[in-house]
Amino acid sequence: MKVFVGTLKGLFVIEKDSDGWRVVPPVFNGLSVYAIGRGAGRWWSAPGSEWTGTDLSWSEDEGRSWHLSEGQIAFPESSGGALRRIWQITEDSDGRLFAGVEPSALFTSDDRGATWSLCEGLWNHPHRPEWQPGFGGQAIHTIAILSKNEWVVGMSTGGVYRTEDGGVTWSPSNKGILAPFMPDPDVEFGQCVHKFAVTPGNTSDMFLQHHWGVYRSNDAGRTWNNVGADKFPSDFGFVCVSNAPKTSFVIPIKADIERVFPEGRMRVFRTTDGGDSWVSLENGLPQSDVYDCVLRDSFHVDGRCLAFGTTGGNLYFSGDNGENWSRIAESLPRISCVRVAA
């Protein structure tokens, strides 16, 4: 059992052995790690800095050693784009790699990362000039590969976009998600989607954390319904994960300026009935004076094992589907992404 933790000062692996959890000395020291992902038989990471940009790296020994990828993600000169940061790395069932990056773009690789191709269909979308960066940056932060040619991505702002022809053409997919920060809240695109998750075993069933509210879709993201109204101490939050049908976990955060846990209490909320009801999971989590936050990619689930990391450098783990939590690392640098390998 281990948890990969990307921070603003390197990549940490937190391992569990017979003596409990231990922090392995970090790699990529001093570099920001915004993405950790699994694909093509490897773990992938993207350490970077404001000085020298981002370098894609991989590991074939569960994170013990890392190698600079022979192929790096770069925009074609003709695109006019320049890579700022890699936010997401995943794969499809055939081992094809997908990377979501900042500025908002999608790259794919069919040769285990030796070469990468820009998804021109999304990059050249006529909406792109109107996408505006949220506080975190204008990036593709969520990728869901529903089938060989049906992909769904999320960005903030811009919202959800989907393709059904393998990336050639894309359409906004935000119907039902209200954007109160826009003159007309019921807009086709421009939503501030923070994260979405597909439920295992049913690619039509999705949950989504918006800047305002938690939503669910029963039709693979074509339409959305608010399933969180008045059910949380705050409708704002960054994370959204799922590990079973009709099930999702979210972590409310106090909006808009403070961005800390509401009422100073660290709580995870879980639904197992499609969002009709939500249970607050608190056992083992601090319930007073918490001025901390969890960013969009810092919550991950593998089976019944869950882990989330905070901007204050604390890492929490649950091995029983969120019923009980324990802090397994503290005083890490600001945590930007988490991956559990149960």
Binding site: W51, D55, L68, Q72, G80, A82
Partner: protein, 93 residues
């Protein structure tokens, strides 16, 4: 023309060899000298220059101790033997 090139801080760690180099030839600009010097080490160049050929915002170029500022730093004209320093700005936290 002989140009000495110094890579500092994080940039030095991206080289396959020494952080101080000397390259001889005719180089009209800083960009030409850097591209010639590091033609076999693309990580050095990509650490300073993005895909669009633009100097990364937190990289600073000095010629004979004088900073060549702004987006045009890579296109600064070289007129003879000189020393180019490539620095990482003191930024971050």
């Amino acid at each position: 023309m002989t140009v000495r090139i110094w890579l500092h801080s994080v940039l030095a760690g991206r080289t396959a060899g020494e952080a101080e180099r000397t390259v001889a030839g005719e180089f009209a600009t800083v960009r030409a000298a850097l591209e010639s010097c590091f033609s076999e080490e693309p990580r050095v160049l990509s650490g300073m220059i993005d895909e669009q050929g633009v100097l990364r915002p937190h990289i600073a170029i000095f010629i004979d101790g004088e900073r060549v500022s702004g987006a045009g730093a890579l296109d600064a004209i070289l007129t003879g033997d000189c020393e180019i320093g490539c620095f990482c700005a003191v930024s971050g936290g």
